[in-house]
């Protein structure tokens, strides 16, 4: 069966009355990892404040220490010095095995146990925690539905009988099963094809809207960081934080040359991916040419621009709930880009330029800046 058919189970209803635990804050305080026999530290004195319920993307070039940083949070790697506080408690004071049972863990290789059924895979952590059988059974069913896999069809299969995308859904279900307040995700969607990746990203964002877990998400893909992150930490060698800010801020005002180099060309276009049509005032519906397929209200401005260029138009119609609600023009898009530029300049107090070496790394983003516009409804 196909991936799309597997997702017909709409993950919006919750069969059992159990409440999901929301996220807790994580603080990395001067965390350093130095391997014996090496001169430079793999992670050098990193400070990071992660707010509860945020998705924080650790992004950076290969070897910058982002995975090492993430793996120190659940102590798969022991820090050489520094403190890591989860909900105020120093993880180094806890039993490492028990600590990991309270932290969801999703990796690129997925790592499902090939000799166990999907059901046994998903129920592993609750079993370790000693939940009773009935509770585990309902929870496993619920989790499989949540990630869009029909329990009746998949629970008793083995991992090799699933596609890569389905396997990673199981990986996410397994990590969420014991309802941990924190999730660590190391390039979780890196090994699936681009279309499936987009789908899994979208679904995961939807899921996160209900779960509000605190998520540390490692990726080398800046576009993924922009799409998934509430905040992005751009890391340089030794896990030096070049900038820690919202995607909007990093795109409009990169802190230094390293960040702007990492953002790459087309920062403005990427910025448009974070804006949706509802941020614009629409014209009355009669301006656009007829016969062109209208775009839904929740399209990003990037999609709108793409459609305009593809069809050689300077205006397209917008549809909401099946009704044409208005028209958006190329002029509107350009106007919005100018606005964003002005907002960014007002915030940094400087003139528009590609790089701002003077800006302080790690500045907190302006909270009023469209924080709500990227995700549909962050309650």
């Amino acid at each position: 069966m196909s991936e799309s058919a597997a997702t017909t189970t709409e993950p919006t209803t919750r069969p059992s009355g159990e409440r999901e635990a929301g996220g807790v804050p994580i603080v990395l305080d001067g965390v350093t990892k130095k391997y014996p026999g090496t001169d430079s530290a793999a992670v050098d004195d990193i400070h990071l404040d992660i707010a509860p319920g945020d998705i924080v993307m650790l992004v950076g070039p290969s070897g910058c220490g982002k995975t090492t940083t993430m793996r120190m949070i659940n102590r798969l790697i022991e820090p050489t010095s520094g403190r890591i506080l989860i909900d105020g408690e120093d993880v180094l004071s806890l039993n490492d095995v028990k600590l990991r049972r309270t932290i969801g863990y999703v990796i690129q290789q997925i790592g499902l146990f090939p000799h166990l059924t999907i059901e046994s895979n998903v129920s592993m952590v609750p079993k370790l925690l000693g939940w009773d059988k009935a509770r585990i059974a309902t929870r496993v069913e619920e989790m499989l539905s949540v990630v869009g896999l029909d329990p009746a069809e998949f629970a008793h299969r083995y991992p090799r009988q699933l596609s890569g995308g389905q396997q990673q859904r199981v990986g996410v279900a397994r990590a969420l099963c014991a309802d941990p307040p924190i999730m660590l995700m190391d390039e979780p969607f890196g090994a699936v094809d681009p279309i499936t990746r987009t789908k899994l990203q979208d679904e995961f964002l939807n899921l996160q809207q209900r779960l509000h877990k605190t998520i540390v998400f490692v990726t080398h893909d800046f576009d993924e960081a922009v799409k998934m992150g509430d905040k992005i930490a751009v890391l340089d060698k030794g896990s030096r934080i070049a900038q820690y800010a919202s995607p909007e801020e990093i795109l409009t005002s990169p802190a230094d040359d390293f960040v702007s180099g990492f953002v790459g060309h087309g920062a403005t276009l990427k910025r448009l991916q974070l804006e949706r049509l509802d941020s614009l005032d629409l014209h009355p519906a009669d301006v656009a040419e007829q016969g062109v397929e209208p775009l839904p209200m929740r399209s990003t401005l990037h999609d709108v621009l793409d459609a305009m260029i593809a069809d050689g138009l300077d205006a397209v119609q917008v549809v909401d709930d099946g009704h044409i609600v208005g028209t958006v023009t190329l002029e509107d898009l350009l106007g919005r880009v100018r606005e964003l530029r002005a907002e960014a300049d007002a915030r940094t107090g400087g003139a528009a330029s590609e790089s701002r070496p003077g800006a302080t790394p790690g500045t907190t983003p302006d909270p009023e800046l469209e924080a709500g516009q990227r995700k549909d409804d962050p309650t």
Binding site: E3, L76, R100, G111, H115, M124, S163, D193
Partner: protein, 260 residues
Amino acid sequence: MTTATEQVALDVQPVLARRDRLFVWTDLLIPLLCVVVVVSELFYLSQAPLDSIERDLVSNARIWEYTQQHILITIVIVVLVLAVAVPLGVLITRRGTAWIAPFVLGFGNVGQAAPIVGLIAIIGSFAVGFWPVVLIIAAFSILPVLRNTIVGIQQVDVGVKDAARGMGMSPRGILFGVELPLAVPIIAAGARTSLVLAVAVVPLGTDLNAGGLGRIVFPAIKLDRLEALVAGAVFIAVLALLIDWLGGIAQRLLTPRGIR
């Protein structure tokens, strides 16, 4: 750019060559062949013009008794080998005890490389009987199980081990719940090799009075009775084939379903 609903699912589920049936009819070929060989050999012996010495040497009662002894020795050897080699192999793959690797592998290599007849001769000048022979042959056939245990555990996917550790399984839980189950097919393959080695080598212990089908072969050589010699050799070969076949079945049964 298309919207999510228009996207075609590329992520198609793999076409499965699932093997739901544990046994197939070709599994029966080996035992069938063995039965044919044994029956023909017994029939030939009953027809052949044998003298009294030969007739005594290959009487049905003797063949049966020696076969039972042979099987018993082999089983004891393999149980011993598994009991020693699997734990040693596990210890070698643990970080804290990896330092024993050169010693253990050295012992295994020496065991296998040493001329078995020489060993039997040397040990035989100090002790004879069932246990000396069992111990010598066990030392001789320990290497396949030891090596396969190490390889079997090391080949477990790093992603699987990382996930196991990351979700909070204890080292012991990972060993017994993940590593060993996934190493079973490879360890079992080593055990099969050891089994066949043991079956083939047990006759060499005949002179130390350990019993087995060697008690037909060696007297037949000394007394120059070709029919009896061939009979003894045929039964040993059939036994080796059958035991390897049983080992194969056991290997399949022990392998967890998801990786079969």
